[in-house]
Symmetry: C2
Subunit: 409 residues, 2 copies
C-alpha cells in the first residue's frame, strides 16, 4: 500500500496552472475563477473515485468515501487550495493532493474502512480575500456564525456569501459540524519554516500550534527639521522605536528563549521624509509561543520596554491589541499513531510546534487532530520561491495514508 | 528709522491667503496660481515704492531701488515665497516681507544710498514642485545652466521653463549674476529649529550653513514566516537596520558630538506584513555639520556600523549616495556688521550654524552674505503649526534695515 509520486506531482503541477499571476507565483484567492477551476479539478478526481461530493457550511468542499458501517463518525483529511497573493504552489495544495492520493490508493486497493473517509478542501484559509483567515473551518464548526459572514467583504465590497454564491458554490448541507460527527482528522502541510531542512529531516510531527499575540505600537515624538534640531533637543519617535524593536528580539531570543518568537514586520514613519525627524512611528509586534504563560510573559516584557524607553526619551505611546489566539494542543493519540507509522517506515519524525495557524487549529476544538509537516526549501513560503521536494511530499503522504487507514478501520 | 509691525503683520496675513490648501496650511508651489498671486502682491507693493521690477534668469523677482551712484554693485535682501505642501506661513515669507518693509522705510524716510538696493524673491527654493530646491538662485548664479532646466519636470511632466512661461513670468534679463554685480546680501529667515526658543533669545546670526551628506542604506536578509522561523535561524533585515539606526544617533550625539546631527527619516520594510520577517529594509541617513571633516568622520563611522552589524547578522547591504553638499561659510564682515547693529539695539545675537539650506548658501559663492534667524515656536516648520511672533520678525527686520542702510550707503 503506497502512494504514487508521479500522480502527486501531476496533481501539484495541474493545480499550479490555476493562478491569476502566471510567471509571478500563485494567486488563487477563494471563490475566484482560478480557485473554482482548481476546486473543480479536485471534484473531478474525487468523482472518478466514486466519492460523494458536497459543499458544507462556509463553502468547504467535502468528498466522502462511505464506510462499511453507516452512521459512524467520519475521519477527515485535507487542507486548502486558496493562496496568498503571489504565493507558492505547495502551501495548502500539498495537503489536499496528499489526501486525494490517499483516497485513490484506498479505493484502488479496496482497503476496507468502517468509518467514512472525507477529503476536505477548507475555504479561505489564508484570508487573502476577506481580510480574515480560516473562514471555512470557523464557519463550519460554528466559530463564525452566519451573522458574521455578511460582514466579511473583499476589496470590492462583495460579501463572503455573495462571492461564494456567484462562484457557484452552493451549500448542500447547512449543518454545523460537531464533535460527534468526526472521529479524527489529519492534515499534511509544508513546514513554512527552516527547521526540518536545517536538521536534514523529512518529516515533522506537529504536537502544538503556537498561540499568537499581536499588537500595534504607536510612538509619538516631535517632528522637526533634520538640520535645525540639535541631537540633544530631539524627541525622535523612530529612535525610540528602534530600541524597542531591538529589545523585542532580545526578549524573545534570550530573556524568554526558544520556542518563543517575536517579529516586527514593518515600521511606518510620519512624515517619512529624508530631512524630517519622525514625529510618529507605528510598528506591529507578533509574538508566538505554544505556551500561554510564556506568551503573556513575552508580551509583558515587550510592553515594559515600550514604556521604559518612551519615558526615558520624552515620547508617548499607545498600544492597540490586534490578535490574541490561544495555543492549541493537537491530539496525543493521533500523534502517537503517526509517530508509530513513521517509525515503522524507518523515519523518526521531529516533534514540532507549528508557528503558523492552520485549519487544524480550528478543527482541534471539535476532534482529534494530527498534523504532518514536510520540509520547505530555505524555509521560504508565501512567495513564488516556495519549494518542497515531491519525494518528501510522497513520504508524508505514505505515512498519512497508513495513519488514515488505521483511523478509519 | 524703524520698521512698522502692523505692516509686517498685514503682509504676512495677506500672503497667507494665497494657499491651495486653505485650512490645512500653506501650499504655494512655484509658478502655481497662488504663487503668482503672492508674487503679484509683492510686485504691487514694490511698484508703489517706485522700484524697478524685473524677472531674472531662473524666474526670480527683482525689485530695484536705484542708488545715487549709477553702475555700482547692488546690495540684495530677500528670501522666497514658495512653500512645501501643507507648510507654514513664515518660512521664506518672513524674509521677503522684512525686505519689503525695509525698502518701504528707506523710501519713505528718503534714506540716501549710493548702491542700488534689490528686493529679491528667489524662485523654487523648497523644491516642492520640481524635485530639487534652490533652483532660482542656482540658475541665476550659473550653478544650473539653461540646459539643466528642461530636465526639471513637475509631477505632471511640465518643465520648469514651461511652467514659468505659462504663469506669465518672462525673463527680462537673461544674464548670469556675477560677483561684480553684487556687493552683499542679507536674508532674514525663521530658524526652523528649537535653539533660539530654548535659550529664550530673539535673534540668531548665522555664520555657517551646514554641509549635508545623504545616503540610502539597503539591507538584505531573508524573508520568512514569522511563526515558522525560530529566532536563532533568522536573517531579519529589520533587526539589523534598527541597530544601525540606533548607532547612527549614538555616533552623532556622543562619538562625534555637537554640532553634528544625523537623522533617519523613514524605514521601508519588504514585504511589510504583520506576520512576515522583513527580507529587505531601506532607510536614509541625513548627516549635517558645518565642518567637512566632521561630516566625513560621521559618515565613515555610520558606514562602518552598517558593515559590522550586517556582517555579524548574516545580512548584506548596499549604500546609495544621495547628496553631498559642502558646508558654506557666510561673510564675516556682514556678520560683524549685523552683530554691531544688534548690540547697539541691546540685543546679543546667538552665533549659529544653519542646519537647513537657504538661497544664501548659493549666493555666498558670489557675494558677501549675512543671515538673520528669528525664533520658531517649538522649532516647528514645514507644517501648519509653524509660528514666529511678529515682534520677533519686527526686531529682526529693524536690525536688517540698519545693516542694509550701512551696506548700501
Amino acid at each position: 500500500m503506497e502512494t504514487r509520486m508521479e500522480r502527486i506531482e501531476k496533481d501539484i503541477e495541474a493545480i499550479a496552472l490555476f493562478t491569476a499571476t502566471p510567471g509571478s507565483g500563485i494567486t488563487r484567492v477563494t471563490f475566484s475563477e482560478k480557485y473554482i477551476r482548481a476546486r473543480s479539478y479536485i471534484i473531478e478526481e474525487l468523482n472518478s473515485l466514486g466519492a460523494r461530493i458536497s459543499a458544507t457550511l462556509g463553502g468547504n468542499l467535502r468528498g466522502r468515501l462511505e464506510g462499511t458501517e453507516k452512521g459512524t463518525a467520519c475521519v477527515m483529511m485535507g487542507s486548502h487550495l486558496d493562496s496568498v497573493l503571489h504565493g507558492g504552489k505547495y502551501d495548502g495544495v500539498a495537503g489536499v493532493v496528499s489526501a486525494l492520493e490517499a483516497a485513490r490508493v484506498i479505493v484502488e486497493e479496496e482497503i476496507p474502512h468502517r468509518h467514512p473517509i472525507d477529503v476536505i478542501v477548507f475555504a479561505e484559509e489564508e484570508g487573502s480575500r476577506f481580510g480574515s483567515g480560516l473562514i471555512g473551518s470557523r464557519a463550519w464548526t460554528g466559530h463564525l456564525s452566519l451573522d458574521d459572514l455578511p460582514h466579511l467583504r473583499d476589496n470590492e465590497g462583495m460579501t463572503y456569501l455573495e462571492a461564494m454564491e456567484r462562484s457557484g458554490v452552493l451549500t448542500d448541507d447547512p449543518s454545523v459540524l460537531e464533535a460527534k460527527d468526526v472521529k479524527a482528522m489529519i492534515e499534511l502541510h509544508i513546514e513554512q519554516g527552516i527547521v526540518l531542512e536545517k536538521r536534514g529531516l523529512q518529516i515533522g510531527l506537529v504536537e502544538r500550534i503556537a498561540g499568537i499575540r499581536q499588537f500595534l505600537v504607536t510612538i509619538h515624538g516631535v517632528s522637526n527639521h533634520a538640520g535645525g534640531t540639535p541631537m540633544g533637543l530631539r524627541n525622535d519617535a523612530l529612535q525610540g522605536a528602534v530600541r524597542i524593536i531591538a529589545e523585542t528580539e532580545e526578549i524573545a531570543a534570550h530573556t524568554v528563549g526558544d520556542p518563543t518568537v517575536a517579529t516586527v514586520g514593518f515600521v511606518i514613519c510620519e512624515p517619512g521624509q529624508f530631512n524630517i525627524i519622525p514625529g510618529k512611528v507605528q510598528f506591529p509586534v507578533d509574538i508566538r509561543d505554544p505556551d500561554s504563560r510564556r506568551l503573556d510573559e513575552t508580551a509583558k516584557r515587550i510592553l515594559a520596554a515600550v514604556e521604559r524607553i518612551c519615558l526615558h526619551r520624552g515620547l508617548t505611546f499607545e498600544v492597540t491589541p490586534k490578535s490574541d489566539i490561544a495555543p492549541v494542543a493537537l491530539s496525543q493519540e493521533v500523534s502517537s499513531l503517526i509517530d508509530k507509522v513513521a517509525r515503522r517506515k524507518g523515519i523518526e519524525p521531529l516533534r514540532m510546534t507549528s508557528g503558523a495557524l492552520h485549519d487544524s487549529s480550528i478543527m482541534a476544538a471539535i476532534t482529534n487532530v494530527g498534523m504532518i509537516f514536510v520540509p520547505s526549501k530555505d524555509g521560504r513560503s508565501h512567495c513564488p520561491e516556495e519549494f518542497t521536494e515531491i519525494k518528501d511530499i510522497k513520504l508524508g503522504a505514505d505515512i498519512f495514508l497508513d495513519a488514515m487507514v488505521q483511523l478509519s478501520s
